[in-house]
């Protein structure tokens, strides 16, 4: 075993990201590695990311929820699924629609969600709270004091957003909808609607 006590800043950075169970902000890294400016920390992150590009590395740095975290490369997913024996549970359409509403209109109450979706959302909301994608922000000061919902930090992590300002603007979606739907969904055939001749 050689040079055991020798650990460079990149090594320290990797260790820090490795042990953290949530994204670590630039400021936090800067504070821990005192003596390195924010610019230097950014540089280190870029260097580490560069190392990870190599084909014998299985992980990468993803910038999400106002911080940095390590994650496995997408190409490793099939093997990890073998290890785990399952694919991650995906959200249902009702859950996604409800989540989208909450994301864009937060803080929002259950009746307000139901008014737009035209259906009851109790079950879906419960799932979203259980999965920590939605959090309770408080109560609305009006009759009945309904609970106000908003998205959580794990929501940002789950969808890979840096922050809420990264949400695609709704207009954008409207304009792009027909193309993106066909382009991106191609394989899994998510098309909800099949026209009948």
């Amino acid at each position: 075993m050689d040079t055991p006590a020798d650990l460079g800043p990149l090594g320290i950075l990797e260790a820090l990201l490795f042990v953290s169970d949530s994204p670590v902000s630039l400021e936090r890294i800067e504070a821990i590695l005192d003596g390195h400016s924010k610019a230097e920390v950014s540089r280190l992150l870029a260097d580490l990311q560069e190392q990870y590009r190599q084909s014998d590395r299985g992980i990468l740095i993803s910038e999400v929820a106002e911080g940095y975290r390590l994650a496995t490369k997408p190409e490793a997913a099939p093997w990890i699924q073998r290890l785990r024996g399952s694919k991650p549970a995906r959200l249902s359409r009702p859950a996604l629609e409800t989540l989208a509403l909450i994301a864009y209109k937060q803080p929002i109450t259950k009746p307000e969600i139901e008014a737009v979706r035209g259906v009851m959302v109790d079950g879906v909301l419960k799932t979203l709270v259980e999965r920590d994608l939605v959090r309770i922000l408080g109560r609305k000061p009006e009759v009945g004091r309904p609970i106000l919902y908003g998205t959580s930090r794990s929501f940002l992590e789950y969808f890979g957003f840096k922050d809420l300002s990264e949400l695609p603007t709704l207009k954008e979606i409207e304009a792009l909808a027909p193309n993106t739907a066909e382009k991106e969904v191609s394989h899994e055939s998510n098309d909800q609607i099949e026209k009948a001749e």
């Binding site: 035209g118 959090r135 409207e174």
Partner: protein
């Protein structure tokens, strides 16, 4: 055009209506209400096997469609003459559909992002994160999730007994114990002083009954019809929360 629609596969009535509009290549700003209502009702007819709760949501929109249809039958001049706004009766529906569609589309984008992100695996969180020295951080949602989790795992009998109670009763029980810590015995009526709502009264009463049942307080009445006094049988708490003072 012929197709068979399975209603349970739709997110709701608006989703179905949107589908009918798309599949018929209808301009959303100029919906032929009579035709679409007919088609919508036709779809509903095939859902006899659906449970009532779901059906209800679809029926509400059916009623709306029929209402719009009837309004469309009133000639514009007549409507204006009657002082009704010359507004298109379909307008509100169109706005609702567009609003719904915006989020439906957003949901599809979310779905794509989810698919991308689901390929990235992060390290599993340590379930026993040591308590650090920093300021405490618990989210209310985390507390709720913990409660749901613990109740789901609880043995059936225990869980059943425990979920019956409501939070208000528990709260009143604690408040009553606090009150009795300051003064015991106290008259039954005094425990209800300052309460303005029926709900508060009921919750307090139920809380008191529960405390009695559990033997945490005792009620005494010297003779029938005389005032009831409540005693705390619980030992006063020692030096907590600055309450004992």
């Amino acid at each position: 055009m012929s197709y068979r629609v399975r209603l349970e596969m739709f997110e709701g009535p608006l989703d179905l209506l949107l589908y009918l509009i798309q599949v018929n290549e209808i301009d959303i700003y100029d919906i032929p209400i009579a035709a679409i209502t007919q088609e919508y009702l036709g779809c509903l007819a095939g859902m006899k096997e659906l449970d009532l709760e779901v059906a209800g949501e679809f029926l509400v929109l059916a009623a709306t469609l029929i209402h719009i249809k009837s309004k469309m039958l009133i000639p514009v001049e007549e409507a204006e003459a009657e002082g009704l706004a010359a507004e298109d009766p379909r307008q509100e529906l169109v706005e609702r559909l567009l609003e719904y569609k915006r989020f439906k589309d957003a949901a599809m984008t979310f779905e794509e992002l989810e698919a991308e992100q689901s390929l990235l695996y992060v390290r599993p969180a340590d379930p026993m994160v040591p308590v650090a020295d920093g300021p405490l951080e618990i989210s209310l949602s985390a507390l709720l999730r913990a409660f749901m989790a613990v109740m789901q795992r609880a043995p059936q009998a225990v869980a059943g007994e425990i979920t019956l109670e409501t939070i208000n009763v528990g709260e009143r029980m604690v408040a009553l114990l606090d009150r009795l810590a300051l003064q015991s015995p106290v008259s039954f009526m005094a425990l209800f002083e300052g309460m303005t709502t029926r709900l508060q009264l009921i919750a307090t009463f139920l809380g008191l009954l529960e405390l009695l049942r559990r033997g945490l307080v005792r009620a005494r009445q010297t003779e029938p019809g005389s005032e009831i006094t409540i005693y705390r049988t619980v030992e006063t708490a020692v030096g907590t929360d600055g309450h004992t003072g």
